[in-house]
């Protein structure tokens, strides 16, 4: 594996970490205060920083470092992740993503923006109020310089940078009973989290022969003293053969809340030259052990630590994480209780660690090149076709086919189907990454337009084929931009309309009858139909006296060259909005609908196939042509009786089904396969439910059977045909067209198969 491959893996991991980071921040934004969420966010940035450091990506490292520092303040409860703070953090996550992309592809980054954010982050880390001028804080120039920022003062908010590497860096002492010099400066947080310096020092003294000097220089007089702040710090000389590791273990839980320097004193003579009055620590400290409440807890935790230390070799980061969790759990359990409950603390810690382990051990994955998966899927598609052909030729050539052959064929069919399903499942991915990208877009547009927007996503774990996901991002981006830019009003207008200043955009995904339905709803002003209509008239899309329903007016926005924004904005102007969206959705075999309520907002509904590779279809004959009707659309099939058919209007017919009437649609007529309407009694009616709502009975001549067909795109191989969704190859090698049921239903409502054309013609 060469360096580039390793780098590529790093970037792939970065993507995951960035996703993790963003989703964590969004959770925090929604009020989640779970320490593990904060930890996950911190970890994501930390991992990116670590990896970036290894590849010498200095820009990335320095930004990640500042970000991490600020996150550490949140993690240690020094900084409350309020909305303003999270706003900065979300922006920082965006910049981090940009920097990562730039490092990968050599793209450019808005340096002014990242410098500004570094300032803001540093301001936050220093406890300054967000938005305050932070000009005094110098941006960090070099990653080397930022590894260990010095504390500002005893009460300063400068967190201690740490690295998990430290744990492994300790060497076994080679000489007999070496002497360590330890400088231990607790921060106020150490006490706030329920840690106790006396206990740490006691544990330290047990490692060997210790003498100590307490520096009380910072201690003020009583009236200026804040009783819960840290003033004492210690210089300790410890003679021990346990090694630096053991010393660090003592401070493990406190590591983030103190400054700790451990150095090996090479020559005892130099140490004795120190001027400090060192006080020897008594060996017999047993009297101090008469506090079982605290001590047991500490000892147990130490044992856990010891056992975890062994795991660490195998999984450094995982164990490091677990120790964070432990620390959190420990402090959470201790702080509020007057008398610490050690059993509870250590139990909580253990379960937290166990959870963490379970999380990291969950479902091992491998990375596979997408091309390989696609090749496999293609092959399976061919296999399905081949299997169908084989079945057909067996049936044709061997009329009295033996049951064993038929049974074998059936088993083969079942197997191919299972193989196909499994292969498709490989490509199925949750829509989450796309949805996450949208939250960034919402943020940016909201910033640009000065609107306050909240994006709510639902059903982000809904799975759909990767191709669909990849192609979904672009139209969705467009629609989100439109929703924020055109859909939502400015905060002033919203308040005037009696709504909250913050607009809501809701993005939902769900499975519905074998398709994925993605809904984008905003609570804005809705479509201004008058304006749309006027615009359409101005643009010669319709005549001034055209009589259009509300729905038809709404659908005008899908026309090419249509934009209702008074001024063309950078964001969604240019008039290439919704028609592009509609075309890309259609190219995916999907449909898009709009429904809008003036004053209450608009809802765009996209219905997309779960996979672009196969579908279950009913093979039917219409005017001697073989067509495939997607099975998901069909509610039932029935043989119409003459008595059930009623004429309606000039050439409409209805069929009565169980005491209700349903329009009868002659597929052959609509597709222009025949000039005159077929006699319904001679054919079969397929009752279908369309996306637009309502049922229709589609008239076909005969049903040949039900089959799984491999979808071959007509657009890719030929061109888009109205009313036809795609094509397939049947068992006998012939091409059959797959019906676009919704287009047929729409056409039956009087719309032509090309609604744009008809409207243009009307105008």
């Amino acid at each position: 594996m060469d360096m580039n491959e390793i780098k590529e893996i790093f970037f792939q991991e970065c993507e995951e970490q960035l996703a993790e980071l963003e989703s964590g921040l969004l959770k925090l934004n929604d009020g989640d205060r779970d320490p593990e969420t904060v930890n996950a966010v911190f970890r994501a940035v930390h991992s990116i920083k670590g990896g970036a450091g290894a590849f010498g990506l200095d820009d990335l490292v320095s930004f990640a470092h500042v970000f991490e520092t600020t996150l550490d303040c949140v993690r240690s409860n020094r900084l409350d992740p309020g909305p303003e703070v999270l706003k900065v953090m979300l922006k920082s996550a965006d910049v981090l993503a940009d920097l990562t992309n730039a490092a990968r592809d050599g793209g450019s980054v808005d340096e002014a923006r990242s410098r500004q954010l570094i300032k803001e982050l540093e301001a936050l880390a220093n406890g300054e109020v967000p938005q305050a001028s932070a000009a005094a804080v110098e941006p960090v120039a070099k990653p080397v310089a930022v590894v260990a920022p010095p504390p500002v003062n005893d009460e300063g908010f400068q967190p201690v940078a740490f690295s998990f590497d430290d744990f492994d860096a300790a060497e076994e002492p080679l000489m007999d009973m070496p002497v360590y010099e330890i400088v231990f400066k607790p921060k106020s947080d150490l006490y706030a989290k329920g840690n106790e310096a006396t206990l740490l020092l006691r544990d330290l003294s047990r490692l060997g022969e210790m003498s100590i000097h307490c520096d009380m220089g910072a201690l003020p007089t009583l009236d200026r003293l804040s009783p819960e702040s840290a003033y004492f710090f210690w210089k300790i000389s410890l003679k021990t053969d346990k090694g630096e590791d053991a010393i660090r273990t003592v401070f493990e839980f406190a590591e983030w809340d103190c400054d700790l320097e451990i150095s090996l004193v090479e020559d005892e003579a130099t140490q004795s030259g120190e001027e400090l009055p060192m006080q020897p620590v008594p060996f017999d400290l047993s009297i101090l052990d008469d506090e079982p409440a605290v001590l047991v807890g500490v000892v147990e935790e130490e044992e856990q630590l010891a056992s975890r230390r062994q795991d660490r070799d195998a999984a450094v980061s995982a164990a490091g994480t677990a120790s964070n969790v432990l620390q959190m759990a420990q402090s959470a359990a201790r702080t509020p209780a007057e008398k610490p409950a050690p059993a509870a603390a250590s139990a909580a810690a253990q379960s937290a660690a166990a959870q963490q382990a379970a999380a990291s051990a969950a479902t091992p994955t491998i990375r596979v090149d997408l091309d390989r998966v696609d090749r496999l899927i293609n092959l399976v598609g061919e296999l399905v076709i081949n299997q169908a052909m084989l079945s057909q030729s067996v049936v044709e050539n061997d009329n009295n086919g033996t049951s064993s052959i038929n049974m074998g064929l059936e088993e083969l069919q079942q197997l191919t189907r299972e193989i196909q399903d499994s292969v498709m499942a490989i490509r199925a991915q949750p829509v989450k990454p796309v949805f996450q990208r949208m939250s960034r877009i919402v943020r940016e547009i909201a910033d640009m337009t000065g609107k306050s927007v909240r994006l709510i996503t639902e059903g982000e774990n809904t799975e759909v084929d990767k191709t669909v996901i990849d192609k979904l991002a672009e139209p969705l981006t467009h629609m989100i931009r439109n929703a924020v830019d055109h859909g939502l009003e400015t905060p002033e207008k919203r308040l005037a309309a009696g709504k909250s200043a913050e607009g809501t955009v809701r993005l939902t995904a769900k499975h519905r009858s074998g398709r994925i339905v993605i809904e984008l709803a905003d609570d804005g002003a809705g479509i201004n139909r008058e304006k749309v209509r006027q615009k359409a008239i101005d643009n010669d899309l319709i005549t001034a006296d055209a009589n259009l329903s509300d729905e038809e007016i709404d659908n005008l926005i899908f026309h090419a060259g249509f934009s209702t924004a008074d001024k063309i904005s950078d964001i969604s102007g240019r008039g290439v909005g919704m028609d592009v969206v509609k075309r890309s959705i259609q190219a995916l075999g999907g449909r898009i609908n709009i429904s809008s309520k003036p004053g209450h907002g608009s809802v765009f509904t996209m219905s997309l196939p779960l996979t672009l590779a196969v579908l279950d279809g009913m093979v039917v004959t219409v005017a001697n042509q073989t067509l495939v009707v997607p099975l998901t659309a069909i509610v039932e099939t029935l043989q119409p009786e003459a008595a059930a058919i009623h004429s309606f209007g000039s050439n409409q017919r209805l069929i009565s089904i169980r005491n209700s009437f349903c329009p009868l649609v002659d597929v052959g007529r609509i597709l222009n396969f025949r000039a005159i309407q077929a006699n319904p009694v001679e054919g079969v009616a397929l009752l279908v439910e369309s996306e637009g709502g309502g049922q229709r009975a589609l008239m076909v001549d005969a049903i040949q059977g039900q089959r799984q067909v491999v979808i071959k795109s007509l657009e890719a191989n030929y061109t888009h045909v109205p009313g036809i969704a795609a094509a397939t190859i049947l068992g006998d090698g012939r091409v059959a067209l797959i019906l676009d049921v919704d287009a047929i239903v729409a056409a039956s409502r009087g719309h032509s198969l090309k609604p744009e054309m008809s409207l243009a013609a009307a105008g």
Partner: protein, 97 residues
């Protein structure tokens, strides 16, 4: 040694002087400011750094005020803990009167 002008006050320390006790102890000491003080630490079973800080700040304050700040009796735990954390209290502990 006690000043004749001011009455000498005694503060008996609670058995457990942990993190939560620091603020209370601080307030108690502040309330006693301006008088000579004798602190009875004989009942102390456990004392944390924060409380030692408060006591030491007290000693410093009393010294600046030229008043006396002494420990009349100290428990073994109190003494050992201060010794452990390198805080010298010998000069504050009352010798034979």
């Amino acid at each position: 040694m006690a000043s004749k002008k001011t009455a000498q006050k005694t503060l008996s320390l609670a058995p457990v002087l942990d993190l939560n006790e620091a603020t209370a102890l601080h307030e108690k000491l502040l309330a006693l400011k301006g008088s000579d003080i004798v602190i009875d630490a004989s009942a102390v079973e456990r004392v944390g750094t924060l409380c030692v800080q408060v006591l030491m700040a007290g000693a410093k304050t009393w010294e600046e005020d030229h008043l006396s700040f002494t420990f009349s009796k100290v428990s073994d735990a109190f003494e050992k803990t201060t010794q452990l954390i390198g805080v010298e209290i010998d000069h504050l502990v009352a010798k034979e009167i």
